[in-house]
Amino acid sequence: MSQTLPTAPVVVADSNVHVPLLAIRDLEVSFTTATGLVSAVRGVDLTVYPGQTVAIVGESGSGKSTTAHAIIDLLPGTGKVTAGSIMFDGTEITTATEKEIIALRGRAIGLVPQDPMSNLNPVWKIGYQVKEALKANGIAKGSAANARVTELLEEAGLPDAARRAKQYPHEFSGGMRQRALIAIALAARPKLLIADEPTSALDVTVQRQILDHLQHLTEELGTAVLFITHDLGLAAERAEHLVVMYRGKVVESGPAAQILSAPRHPYTQRLVASAPSLASRRIQSAKALGVTATELLAPTGGDGVSETRPDIVVVDNLTKVFHLRGGRPGAAKTFKAVDDVSFTIKRGTTMALVGESGSGKSTVANIMLNLIDPTEGKINFEGTDLSTLNKKQLFAFRRRVQPIFQDPYGSLDPMYSIYRTIEEPLRTHRVGDRKSRLQKVRDLLDMVSLPQSTMRRFPNELSGGQRQRVAIARALALEPDVIVCDEAVSALDVLVQAQILTLLNDLQAELGLTYLFITHDLAVVRQVADQVCVMKTGKIVESATTDEVFDNPREEYTRELLAAIPGAKLTF
């Protein structure tokens, strides 16, 4: 970043520093539903000074995004501010006219939204969408605007910006789209930037690059940032001041370091204790000090016992090639999703397959589950080559390997009751009679700590964590040897994530299960895995025990992934 950035319209002058840029007082927001008013935000106070970075931390449904959207009057659906005040730079937002709000949006308050995939209009070119922000706020017009668009995209860290501006969103990767969205948000040099989980949909290494860049830009421009995240480690690393929200209320706020070291509210204490990014950091620093960490750790981790365990799965030189159809005859291409992958998993241990999106880890999982056939190579399951199985043997084999998928909303049939969902595999494999199956479902629900009454309910009546418990119960129904967890906790809130990981660890100790744990998140790996394979573009680049990978990563790529776990700069 050699070019000089144009200064923000407001220079952080000494006299301004102690006047809040944004002051929210006793804010209440409610949504009208069929059953009446539901309050989402209940009496929130929040202050942001010019140039300051404040983070709101909370899980889904805590009201953090609703608070942020209230600031620019973009509450979804029936949402309404019912009480309190939002004072921004001398304007009372709750009573401002539509015209005043439009003048503030973009010009004084920028928004970097959460999901880069859905936040750019797919039918307009990137450059056009950036230019709109310039024109709407009277910054530049015509060819001057075009030149400015290129500058802004470059500034946001998009290489080859002039050419890229002429492309459509679908030609951009997620990280590039998020850079374009940052360019849009900063186009009119706002005084306040609201960053609503700006990177949670991106790969970890990209996440880090983009946050670094955003931090650098806002510091240089003197922009105040309201950063919204569910990850306490990330918040503490990026913001000076933290605001912890729980069920629509601010439960604790203060300087980041203070909240991490001495959380006062019980909820914050639980967050500090279970956020995977923080937990994995703590395990590392505890090990460095020679202290045994009290954290959740894989039951067989580094105990030496695993050396003597028999191999249950041996993957040999696995390769999977996909054929992509070309635009015209002869233009068809092939794509190697998995390239010569070999590893073994010992019975009763957890193997983590780590990689970013597109690394081929899910393809390996699908081959393991025998959902797709490998192009080359084979999988030996306790000495049996899976490719030699006939239809009947394959059916029997499926009992022994069961999946748990990422999205508990998508992997349960909404029309099936929980009982039917868990009972289905038993019925398919003709296990027991009606009565014994009912008993089995009861036992399984007990095992995953769900009440018996759950049986009669439907997926839409359960929370994300409960649904994932149901998915685990269903996977356990056939008493498998191996469970393939494909990003099984990535869609869950941190506290729920910690609970599910504990459950998986307990079940492993109790039932001697073997896990193939597919994830992009090394922080989770630290807590559950015995062995780690790091995948990149279809190949395994590093394979070792979890301790080794964390203590002495050999590959540059592994080091990058490790550095991307939030909280590297925090001390414990």
Partner: protein, 308 residues
Amino acid sequence: MAWYIGRRVLQMIPVFLGATLLIYAMVFLLPGDPVAALGGDRGLNPAVAEQIRAEFNLDKPFFVQYLLYLKGILTLDFGTTFSGRAVIDVMGEAFPVTIQLAVMALIFEGVLGIGFGLIAGLRKGGVFDATLLLVSLFVIAMPTFVIGFVMQYVVGVKLQWLPPTVGGDVSFQTLLMPAIVLGAVSFAYVLRLTRTSVAENLSADFVRTATAKGLTRSRVVNVHVLRNSLIPVITFLGADLGGLMAGAIVTEGIFNIPGVGNTLYKAIQQGQAPTVVSLVTVLVIVYIFANLFVDLLYAALDPRIRYA
């Protein structure tokens, strides 16, 4: 792109062959002897009947008849009707009328359907929206011939605002009412489709981002909501164009319009295979081209669509 169009045109060959064979077979299998029917109650002189059969190849086996017919088409000879007119002339008279009618109906349902649908979508849940939903449901539930006869009687005969029938006088004015009747049901569908699509896009993330940029409401709607919402509507309209042309049979009957529908109806009744097959084949080709056009238009509206 060129490859894509080329492939689509090549795909028309099997569709063309299949459609003509199927239609030819169906007409061939129609009960009754068309030649005998020509003579009415008195019956034809057997020698004359033989001569007509020979002239129209009706004495040959089915496949030979079909191949002879195909051979004719390739030299643009669509055969003649029993009364001796060239089928191509008959088509030349009927098609312009039907095309004019279909295009007028398409414009009516497109402009009004999208316009009202947009307003209803923007004011979802309001009085305007509720009224339009009720009206559109009513129109969809009502058979076309009922709408046709009622409009013909009220607007044409009682109020005398528009001519009640067309007859030989084909003009914008005489075709206006038939076009509205023909497009009525599709108008209701377009309206509902646009409304749903607009309402859905209004809550899309990119629309919120556009608003957060500081754009005015009208710009957000025109630039970010409308174009995206039109994608499914255009698909429907394109597929409907073919349907409008073929489906005009009822409407053309009610208003006595000398178009394809009327001609086709008479030809089927008389078992005139060359006329029926030729008309239907052209309709099939029109349908295929309309679909190709829609696919191209689709890509113009949505850059994510690539011809692969």
